[in-house]
């Protein structure tokens, strides 16, 4: 697969002198579903705006199909955007909003009617053609915004949290629909979200960002199973992150005990982050365990119970289908391959 977009050493510094993007490098393959995942304010929208042509990077280059496109205005780029706050045209109705791009390109009327009709069906807004967009709910507006961009069949579609305003059921439906469209029309989707589950279920590639830096690029399984640092691990799924050291290969020391693990290649006694997922901690009788703690709270989460356990040095989060009452002393056991050792990120 060819790369369709490359970002090279992209830096953005706003007038107030703040560095919002710090030398970002990213290759996006053709026909790929890429997700930018990161906390609020980390620079996801800013990165999208650079690809869309709404913002010029302070330094660095943007390539589209191998050609440098810095300075090319948005209307000359084969890219469409679903804006974070919809940005619908208030003077046009639903139909006219969706047809806008096609009318600008002066497509034949028949073609416009057909393609807009298709889109209306897709986003479930049949019968709303004549409705003014100011009289739509947030979720309906969001779907018009998706249809308005998608109807142009751009090579690359940029979606900035396009499902944020939808209820859970509709969001799940639209996730499936969007993925289907992307595969059927063989488009490249660049999708912004801060919902990690959405990122993991929809994408071919996840780009985890924090503080204007890319933390990790990889497939959802890579990101989930092999997070490169404590930030990614924590962001992808709530995790227990404990300070530890590596006395030797395959041995980690934390919470006052030594544990067998599977990681190696660290300096002797290097300080590391130890990451353990809540679902990987097994509850065992306290007298058989190295790690013990007192159950502080129990919350029922549907499939499992989420417990916080006070273990002196660290408050543990445990997901378990078994339920221990608050105040009991429990023991915790972790298998060697569930102990993830990560280099301390320099910050």
């Amino acid at each position: 697969m060819e790369n369709i977009i490359n970002l090279k050493d992209i830096e953005v510094v706003f007038e107030d002198g703040e560095r919002i993007l710090k030398k970002i490098n990213l290759d996006i393959k053709d026909k790929e579903f890429v997700t930018f995942l990161g906390p609020s304010g980390c620079g996801k929208t800013t990165t999208l705006r650079i690809i869309g042509g709404f913002l010029e990077p302070t330094s660095g280059d943007v390539f589209f199909e191998g050609k440098r496109i810095n300075g090319l205005p948005p209307y000359k780029r084969n890219v469409n955007t679903v804006f974070q706050r919809y940005a619908l045209f208030p003077h046009l109705n639903v139909y006219e909003n969706i047809a806008f791009g096609l009318k600008v390109k002066k497509l034949p009327d028949k073609e416009i009617v057909r393609r807009v009709g298709e889109m209306l069906e897709l986003v479930n807004l049949k019968g709303f053609e004549k409705r003014s967009v100011s009289r739509l709910s947030g979720g309906q507006q969001q779907r018009v915004a998706i249809a308005r961009a998608l109807v142009n069949h751009p090579k690359v579609l940029l979606l900035d949290e396009p499902l944020g305003a939808l209820d859970l059921k509709l969001r799940k439906e639209m996730q499936v629909e969007l993925r289907k469209i992307q595969q059927a029309l063989e488009l490249t989707f660049i999708y912004v979200t801060h919902d990690q589950e959405e990122a993991l279920t929809m994408s071919d590639t996840v780009v985890v960002m924090n503080n204007g830096n890319i933390q990790q690029i990889g497939s959802p399984t890579d990101i989930y199973n092999e997070p490169v640092n404590a930030f990614v691990a924590d962001f992808i799924g709530e995790s227990n992150i404990i300070n530890g050291i590596m006395p030797e290969d395959c041995v980690a020391e934390f919470s006052g005990h030594r544990f067998e693990c599977v990681d190696k290649g660290f300096a002797k006694n290097e300080r590391v982050d130890v990451v353990i997922r809540p679902e990987d901690i097994k509850i065992i009788p306290p007298e058989k365990a190295k790690l013990t703690g007192i159950v502080e709270s129990v919350v029922f989460k549907g499939v499992h119970y989420e417990m916080t356990v006070d273990g002196m040095e660290h408050k543990w989060i445990i997901h378990s289908t078994l339920h221990e009452p608050v105040g009991t002393m429990i023991g915790m056991d972790i298998a060697p391959f569930d102990i993830h050792i990560m280099k301390k990120s320099e910050e």
């Binding site: 869309g52 042509g53 709404f54 205005p73 948005p74 209307y75 890219v79 469409n80 955007t81 804006f83 706050r85 940005a87 619908l88 045209f89 208030p90 003077h91 806008f100 791009g101 600008v104 390109k105 308005r148 961009a149 142009n152």
Partner: protein, 268 residues
């Protein structure tokens, strides 16, 4: 229902100072000196058709010039950073702080045959040109005096146009011109119509500007009315009839204009 009382002062005001005088104008227009009903006054207005046409023509030109000048200014203003908008807006309004008569008087000395402009032109061997007492000078006076009335409504509509809507147009393939005509103009339409009203109505009924800058040969409706009430032509019945016809003309023009505004933003 109780809140209705709050509007009582305005209702009284409206009755005493708007409805009653309007009624009196109508009565005057349809009566003769001895008090009997007549339509002669209205018929007599026909004699002044040329003055009516000149007034309409000059105020249409002035309104058009105001629109063309104010539109880009307002747009640029509305896209500036918030704190700079306030300063720039004040500069736009600055001439309004000076008395209307004084402002127009200043133009007399600028445009006069021995005025500043002709003097400067003389230095490079041009002129003297006849600048004052022309219809051009009247239009200039109207544009100069009423331009802020065009900028303000345009600006106040344009600041409400979200930047992202303009970006969306660009995203969907619009260059600058397409963005202007497909998005910015339709969204600023209410500002355009109210700006036109606010310039056209005072322009068509002005008499000071034409008096000071137009000389005797550029009489406007305003001058005509003034002469009937305060001048030697003293005839309040004819004056009232002219006012009434002018009102009808303005009403018709505004109704036509409103056909172009969105339904929910009708002006009168």
């Amino acid at each position: 229902m109780k809140t209705k009382w709050v509007s009582a002062p305005y209702l009284v005001w409206m009755t005493v100072f708007i409805a009653v005088p309007l009624l009196m104008i109508a009565v005057f227009a349809f009566t003769s000196n001895d008090g009997g009903f007549t339509i002669k006054n209205i018929q007599d207005v026909g004699q002044y058709a040329n003055i009516f046409f000149r007034s309409i023509w000059l105020s249409v030109i002035a309104t058009a010039i105001c629109l063309v000048m104010a539109y880009p200014v307002s747009f640029i203003l509305s896209r500036m950073e918030k704190h700079r908008q306030a300063t720039m807006l004040m500069i736009v309004m600055l001439p309004m702080w000076m008395n209307f008569l004084l402002r127009t008087y200043a133009w007399m000395t600028l445009l006069g045959n021995n005025g500043v402009i002709n003097h400067l032109l003389g230095l490079i061997g041009i002129g003297p040109l006849k600048l004052i007492n022309t219809s051009g000078a009247v239009v200039l006076g109207m544009v100069y005096n009423y331009l802020p009335f065009m900028i303000l409504p345009l600006y106040s509509v344009m600041v409400k146009i979200d930047k992202s809507v303009i970006e969306a147009a660009s995203d969907l393939g619009c260059g600058s011109f397409a963005t202007l005509f497909r998005v910015i103009v339709p969204l600023s339409l209410p500002g355009i119509t109210s700006g036109i009203t606010m310039v056209f109505v005072p322009a068509i009924s002005t008499f000071i500007i034409s008096r000071m800058l137009g000389g005797g040969s550029n009489l406007l409706i305003g001058d005509l009315i003034e002469m009937q009430f305060l001048g030697n032509a003293y005839n309040p019945h004819l004056g009232a009839a002219i006012s009434l016809v002018l009102m009808v003309i303005i009403l018709v023009i505004m109704t036509v204009m409103n056909q172009f505004s969105p339904d929910d933003q009708v002006l009168i």
